[in-house]
Every structure is written in C-alpha cells, then in structure tokens.
Symmetry: C2
Subunit: 237 residues, 2 copies
C-alpha cells in the first residue's frame, strides 16, 4: 500500500506544488479545503481543477487524491480580515515592512490544521502536508517554522494517535523562495494555469497588485517564464 | 470595563462550573458551543438553560454572558467515536484502566480551542476558559495539563494577537476531583439540575453507567448530596 497523507489544498500555487511533491514521493492524498467566508470563490474553483489535474493520469482504482472534502467554517468568528470582511485588500504594499497585513485571517491555519488533525487521526494517518512558506510571504505568524513545529508538538501530546505514533506536519516549501517553488512545480509538470493566488480577483482576472499576486509574478519573472494566468492591466515582460 | 474571556461551554457540569468561577472573578463571557454530530441534543439543550441561568440576575445592558454561539462542525471528519458514530458507549467500564475509551472524539478539544482562539483574536480577547480536568476523567489526552500548556504556547506563536499580548488558556478545574468541582459550584450557587453529563441519555434520563455519569454520581456522593438530575434505574443513597 502507498503512503497516505492529509493535505490542505487551497487552490493556490503553493499547496498545488506541495500536492505535486507529495504525489511524486509516493503519497496518496486526502485533500481538505475550506469555505470560511472568502469574498470570492476563485480558489475553490481552482481546487476542483487541481484535483482533476492530479487524478487525470492515475488509475481509477488508486487515484492520487483519494478523497476531497470542502469543509464549511462559520465565517462569523473571523473579524477584521480583508479576505472575509468588508475591508479593502491592500495594493502595492511595502513587502519588506514587518507589519502583518489585514489579509491575515485570525487563527486560520490553526483551525485548518486542527481539522486536518481530526481527519487524519480518524483515519489513522500520520502525515499532514501544508504549503506554508516563510520566505516570499506576507509575514503571517502561522506560516513560520516555529509555529509549525509548535503545532506538531501540540497534536502529538493532545491526540490519541500521537500517543501511539509520531504525527508529522510536513511543509516542503517552508524555506523556498517563490521562484524555487515554481521551479519545483514546473519540474513536476504542474500546470500553474489552473491555480489561483489573487486576494482580490475581478471577473476571473487577478489584480496583480495584492501581496499574493506580486509575490507570484516575481517568482515567475525570476524563472524567466510568463505566469499563465490572466492579470488585469499587467503586461508580463 | 469588566474583564472579557471566551469560554467553551458544553452543557456539562464542568464547563458550567468554570463559567460560574469566571463570572465570580469578574469576567464577562463569550460562550462557544459546538454541534459536531453528537448522537443526542441534551447537552446543547442544557447549554441554553445554563446561559439563561447566568444571565437571569445580571443587568440587561451587561449580561454575564455577552454572546453565545453554537458552531456547526462537519461531523464527517470524526470517525471511530461512540459519541458521534454508530458504536456503543461503554458502560460500567474499569475507570482505573489506562485505555482511552471510544468516547474519545479525535482532536475535538484541539478544534474547539482553535475556534475559541480565532474568536478571541477577532475580538482582541486574551483569555480562553475551558473545563478540562485531569483527575476524575476518562484519560483523554486533550484534557491533560501538558496538552493545554502546549496549546497555549502554540497560539502565542501562531497568532497576530499572540505577538502583541499573552493569550492565556485557563482551566480552573484542571487539578480538582469531581467532588471538589461540585463543591465549588455549589458555593457559587450553581444549579446543577440544568447541566447534562451523560454520554448515552434516554428520554431525558441519564444512564448512570457511562464514565461521565459514574464520575458525576461519585462526585455528588462524596459531597453527601443527591445529584438533582434524573437517572435511569439508579437510586441515589
């Protein structure tokens, strides 16, 4: 039997690259996505394309992604986030500043990973993949190595499964630049045209000005490749 | 302004006692309860009575419990638990055994506390109360002091709020016996007739044989008091 893992799949470039990496390492995946009150549905539409992409060449009996669940979270618990609430997403922000921008969603990765833990423990699975990255990111506290290792410690203490086996939270992209992530995905033949990163898309076009678009565009540029998605008013060199 | 805290309120004896304790210490509370696929609705019915009880004598403008939310969790993530799935709840189990019984729900407290963290961070609240207890309990890994301190560490690393202020996970009952918990609640004039503890109630009667009933009955007996709730085929001395 192949190795099994739970993966958090957002529809973005990072988690799609993690999925490609895990599959290339011989994992079968149980994917979890979340509907948490995001102002747009683009990422969940992208998730569905990503699942289809990874399963298109696998055997029907043993798909690369065995199961995919979209879990509904009650959005009323999240306040003060421009991804959920009626607040403008910052554009062309100074990325070198240490501020945590308003795109931060309170305890979002903590909740996502907690669900992944329950899901994994229920199925006796000891590996949880996440696309967290601390290089080209927006300074979110829940994307840092010390958060992930602290979360891993906590679930190994607080679950029944953790008393019996070691549960691992695996973040293969943690120390890579966006350019390195994209390079890795391209080597694994990942089709980035089906991924979505923009925080503030309009009619299927990415804005090109939010942190997420800018980090993505920079990553493609450093690979001397045109990003295959559509941007509003951005002409890639 | 009074101190504010988020509290996990299950409808059980323990969390009701924690609420009474926190209110006596001058906290206004934001209560969270969860519908996670429990096989019976008794605890959520009890929660509503508990909220009413704590707010009956407070000023309408400043209720002791400011807000109460029942959050829906997708029950399909939880497998192998007799509280959620079609598995019998163990009766008259050897409580001194070190086994974790099948009433354990995978990562339940981890998910509950993660929601409490998001909820607290969204409202800039730094205190989270939980009724965890490691003396008269069923051996759940997520009720132990080392789990709670590990969870507290994790959220202080992984949230924006934790970078600015210390978030505290407060478990006032952690080291008390069930008898001591009940004594404390009675001193605070808590009405235990409105609380619910049984894992397997029938028509409003508690079974008297599950771990939760037996620990509760023992606690009342040690206080030389009759438990005010109704039991099936149990005559209290």
């Amino acid at each position: 039997m192949k190795k099994q893992a739970v993966i958090l799949l957002s529809g973005g470039l990072d988690s799609a690259t993690v999925a490609a990496t895990a599959i290339s390492q011989g994992y079968n995946l149980y994917a979890l996505s979340f509907r948490y009150g995001q102002k747009h549905q683009e990422e969940l539409n992208a998730v569905k394309k990503i699942i289809k992409f990874f399963n298109q060449n696998s055997e029907p009996d043993t798909p690369n992604i065995i199961e995919h669940n979209i879990i509904d979270l009650d959005p009323s618990i999240f306040l003060n986030s421009s991804l959920v609430n009626d607040i403008n997403v910052p554009k062309n922000r100074n990325l070198s500043k240490n501020d945590i921008p308003n795109t931060y969603v309170p305890a979002r990765n903590i909740i996502f990973l907690s669900y992944a833990t329950a899901y994994a423990e229920s199925r006796n699975i000891c590996n949880i993949f996440i696309g967290a990255n601390e290089v080209d990111y927006s300074g979110y506290p829940d994307c840092r190595p010390k958060f992930l290792s602290s979360f891993e410690d906590m679930i190994n203490i607080g679950t029944k499964l953790g008393q019996e086996q070691k549960i691992s939270v695996i973040a293969p992209l943690l120390h890579l630049t966006k350019a390195e992530i994209i390079k890795k995905g391209l080597e694994l033949k990942l089709d980035y045209s089906i991924t979505h990163s923009c925080y503030d898309p309009i009619d299927g076009y990415s804005c090109g000005q939010c942190d997420s678009c800018r980090l993505r565009l920079k990553g493609f540029k450093e690979n001397n490749i045109t990003d295959p998605i559509k941007y509003l008013n951005i002409k890639q060199a």
